[in-house]
Amino acid sequence: MSMDVEVLEDPKHHRYVLNMGPQHPSTHGVLRVLLELEGEYAMELLPVLGYGHRCHEKIAEHKPVKSFMPNTARMDYLGALIYNHGYAQLLERAAGIEVPERVEYIRVITSELNRIQSHLLWYGAYLLDLGAFTPIMYAFDDREHILDILEDVTGSRLTYCYFRVGGVSKDIDDKFVTSTRAFVKRLRSRFPMYEDLVNGNVILQNRLNDVGELTPHTCARYGVTGPLLRGTGVAYDMRRAEPYSIYSKFDFEIPTGTKGDCMASFMVRFHELEQSLRIIEQALDGLPEGPIMTPKVPKKLKIPAGDYNSSVEAPRGELSYYLVSDGSDVPYRLKVRTPSYSNLSVVPEMCQGMLLSDVVSAMGALDLVIPEIDR
């Protein structure tokens, strides 16, 4: 009898470990999380990574710098062009290559299309995680238009390798411009529908409000960036903080939240769709004529000795490439700092003591792409 009382009184005896993943649908990839549960509450969390490790950093040390471009797209399959952009910028900065103006415009337009595409997928998939089946149909309908537009110009639908050092591989044509304008118009006309269908929904509000709250200080300690950070009220976006390419020419806002909970980052992402549309519109209006490639890029691109950094705003936060060169055309060391990696590392602290169902809400709000964590 005494044994039973002991068991009932000591909370440690109630704990058990639940294995979430690596094939769980709401982890969106091969991520495994060990949850120590007490009843329905997650008391300890331990993410287990590395199932999708493909040695990208090791591969980079074994081939010429220019040949690494396709690998960048395979890290974040949803933000492939933005990963292209960061890497192209890194080499251009390191080798001192000027890029024609038209190229910068094309890069910005396609990168922003890519960002919208990523946010739309997250929007549908996140709501699916929360039990709403319909929105993903609408989101994928819109997303399909972007994939078609980008397929025409880049040749692929997901893992783009479109940017080159000093340019892009193919020029955009009138068809691209018309269909992009049509898409901007269409997506804008869909926003009221999304607002009505999803954003004001009382179930969504209850699932997201006050769940997974972060503060700017927590974000600094963990290196959390992107919409999660902006949800806490810090207007930190690499497009503004360290303006790269021609982003300083455009008029756009950086949406922020206040509470830092899942609802805040949800709304930040939703409003970023509109801001990306604004950038695309302005870029299409100002699109100059000109070459799409710098003529003087050597075939064997030697990077002067030293270390270089290039940071861009990926859909999930700050992406940084850090290159150490010994003067040859093969990197001595290439480090890729991916946003999801740092964003996920906050989970054990953020989700401690949470209901299991809220863990799904909180992890979905991170918008994880596992291949960029594992690299």
Binding site: G96, P216, R221, Y222, P304, A305, S311, S345, V346
Partner: protein
């Protein structure tokens, strides 16, 4: 954040502080640290509101170099801090100051075999448990470069040997020049 004040505090901790041209390298400052000062430096950076962008290692001769990259949410200030590991391949952890360093240090342990002293859970993160001794990013003897070979270099060697305090103002224009020539 007042960068001059912060730089003043770096003086007590570091051996070299360099201003770097952002348009050339993508950083603003380069700070060389002694491995014993790493924790003090991290604590100072957190207090000033910097966040840890990444932590990585570069295998050079004579010792593996650990590179910390910091940036700031309010102003553009990208800082690279570097420190060599000690003779046993160890360096103090900063994961109790910047919790985000926890995983970066585990990853660096996987790739380079560096031991972060007092790390709470230095288990393989990216690599599998059985690959704990693989250390895939260590260079082979033939490929290992001296640390001077991976530093930004002036285009032609200066004829007169100058003392250390001098190169600071010179380093910037020379680095720009080397970019243009390439």
């Amino acid at each position: 954040m007042d960068i001059n004040k912060v730089k003043g505090q770096w003086q007590n901790l570091s051996t070299v502080i360099e201003d770097i041209d952002y348009s050339v390298s993508g950083h603003d400052y380069n700070v060389c640290l002694d491995h014993e000062k790493v924790r003090d430096f991290a604590a100072l950076m957190l207090e000033e509101g910097f966040y840890l962008v990444a932590l990585m290692a570069v295998h050079v001769s004579p010792a593996i170099e650990v590179v910390y990259q910091f940036a700031h949410f309010e102003t553009r200030c990208r800082v690279l801090a570097r420190a060599f590991v000690d003779d046993n391949g160890e360096i103090p952890t900063i994961s109790d100051i910047y919790q985000g360093a926890n995983w970066h240090e585990r990853e660096t342990r996987d790739f380079h075999g560096i031991v972060f002293v007092d790390h709470p859970y230095l288990h393989p993160l990216i690599l599998a448990e059985e690959d704990v001794d693989l250390k895939p990013l260590l260079k082979e003897e033939a490929n290992l470069k001296d640390v001077a070979a991976v530093r930004r270099q002036p285009p032609e060697p200066a004829p007169e040997p100058k003392a250390k305090p001098e190169p600071k103002p010179e380093a910037k224009p020379e680095a720009v020049k080397s970019q243009e020539q390439s």
